[in-house]
Symmetry: C2
Subunit: 223 residues, 2 copies
Amino acid sequence: MLHAAVALADERGLEALTMRSLGQALGVEAMSLYNHVSNKADVLDGIVELVAGEVVAAVGEIGPPAQATEWKPVARERILTARQVLLRHRWAPSLLESRTDMPPSLLAYYDSLLALMREAGFSLDLAHHALHALGSRALGFSQELFTTDDKDVDPDAALLMFQQMAGRFPHLTELLKIVTHDPGSTLGRAGGCDDQFEFEFGLDLLLDGLERLRERAWELPAA
Amino acid sequence: MLHAAVALADERGLEALTMRSLGQALGVEAMSLYNHVSNKADVLDGIVELVAGEVVAAVGEIGPPAQATEWKPVARERILTARQVLLRHRWAPSLLESRTDMPPSLLAYYDSLLALMREAGFSLDLAHHALHALGSRALGFSQELFTTDDKDVDPDAALLMFQQMAGRFPHLTELLKIVTHDPGSTLGRAGGCDDQFEFEFGLDLLLDGLERLRERAWELPAA
DNA sequence: ACCTGAACACCGTTCAAGT
DNA sequence: ACCTGAACACCGTTCAAGT
């Protein structure tokens, strides 16, 4: 049943996952579901737990570093692998953020990340702050504020807005120009930014910064 | 009316903001609202726009750097100021992420951040990736995955879970111990982490990394 | 131009009733 | 033990009717 819920969310989005539609997908009335779960919250917790399981399974394939101080490429690979899983379940990030408590299998994932850093010489404090700094990036996603809605955009209206923007927001306009028109460089998807590139760029910025702090045996700034 | 909606969300949460409750707060039937907005989506867009206006007003107080290369402390102050505004509207971050298009006044904010970086010598590409890397942090928030729900936690059950965790997740347990028991160091709120400290730690990690790339006149890695 | 009440299509959920 | 249908309290929203 949870698998059916995941499939439904994958195919038709999280908002299409209702008790009634889930029942229908299972060839059963909505009310029957309450014999197996006590809540819709139970269903949501369940499907989050399911993709968390996928994440730990995929990440589990990745071995430890040959040398403990070589933590960075391993952390990077684990995180990018987690990302691959979450890209198959686009609804998972926002749902994950809305749940009040962490799914148990994710605890294993975070514990393994912590282990990686601790063994590389991170102090407990630094490893702690590192997890916070990575935030959702540790799981392979980062909520983008600029979402490019390419569909149903009127070219005339877009051009007009563009010209109005040029006056008030010159730097944004300049940026928009290279992002939408320039086919080379870091672009991937038509008309938008290359999510994967931007994700890795931000991730490396953080990992490199953390590595630098590790090398300097970072201590807490005096209070 | 939008002010009433913001007040309602501030006081009772976003889920308490319904057309009916908003009407009631204004001493009017819910259906009357449709004379002023065409949708509930309109209301949500409106209140997002309103706090975006608060952000640009607060950030506008902050002057430019004395020297263009001194972009970092100014960027830092702007971002922490934006954070102060968003902390007054706890519902804003998640709503901001769910909206499909960016509120116009936020474009001004992002344009000013871009200007700051460009004038400090950032290439257009680097400034672009910097905005993506900062992500929601540029606006002063970062979605925390671990939410400490201190309320209604049964001490006995917590202790039991703690002991079970100790075996399977030794590093997390060790972390939990310093976070909950140690009253000194980086702790702020009882039983949780110091959100403000963690936010600034992650922010500085990114800003420092970006400054380093700026100094080296960062170029795109060869494709 | 603005407000109202009844109504509709959707939710999650309860409950008594069936097998 | 599992399923069902009717019902309830909530949504957002439409529409004809009022002033």
